[in-house]
């Protein structure tokens, strides 16, 4: 019998995030300071420089998880990003979250001995579908 499963993905793997940002074409670097929405500057684990704007996105710890690991959240001067990119904060963060989830899941599947049938397929609603099969299966 099967179980429907939902995973609320958390950014907790900076290597997977780097892979995702590379796929999106977003320049990024470990460390750096980012201006937040209130004008303050904060230290970031990763500083993302989206193309087409001088505003940056910071990846900062959002607190310890129940298992002791660290998750991250995206902070930025979202007004600046929205007005220079012409995209909403939600659209920008969703794009990064989706790419991160794809990189994270892909790495996990490959580590477990799965291979993918073809490329990920983007659906009309913006979701991505992967079909993974096990080696020899």
């Amino acid at each position: 019998m099967s179980h429907f499963t939902k995973v609320a993905t958390k950014i907790n793997d900076l290597d997977a995030l780097s892979a995702a940002l590379d796929k999106l074409g977003y320049a990024h670097e470990r460390g750096g300071r980012v201006r937040a929405w209130d004008g303050s500057e904060i230290d970031a684990a990763v500083k993302i420089a989206p193309p087409g704007t001088h505003y940056a996105i910071g990846v900062v710890p959002s607190g310890a998880d129940a298992d002791g690991g660290v998750s991250y959240e995206l902070v930025a001067d979202w007004w600046g990003l929205e007005t220079t990119l012409g995209r909403t904060q939600g659209a920008i963060t969703d794009e990064i979250a989706r790419a991160y989830a794809l990189a994270r899941v892909s790495a996990a599947c490959e580590a477990a001995g799965y291979m993918f049938e073809g490329e990920p397929v983007e659906q009309a609603d913006g979701s991505i579908v992967l079909i993974a099969t096990q080696w020899g299966g």
Partner: protein, 88 residues
């Protein structure tokens, strides 16, 4: 194994222990089906928690049809997974 990544980065799929889902994020799980042996019919049946039975033809039936048994448990599980993943 079909994996669906939603526009907001959340993931939907049938549960597997093969990949460490808890390391990826907050996991929520709910039963999708029951696969049981029907002694009267001498085979395996698939009943969905949302209602209905899976026929041997791969279609959903409101009640258990006479032919809705699978000769092997493996066949029942494979048909169940195929049906559920097609609707993710």
């Amino acid at each position: 194994m079909k994996i669906k990544i939603l526009p907001n980065g959340h993931i939907e799929m049938l549960y597997t222990d093969a990949i460490p889902l808890r390391e990826i994020g907050q996991v929520s799980v709910r039963r999708a089906s029951e696969v049981e042996y029907d002694h009267a019919r001498g085979g395996w049946t698939v009943k969905f928690t949302s209602g209905g039975w899976l026929g041997a033809d791969g279609r959903l039936a409101a009640t258990l049809p006479a032919g809705a048994v699978f000769r092997t448990r493996a066949a029942a599980l494979a048909a169940e997974v195929y049906y559920l993943e097609a609707r993710l």
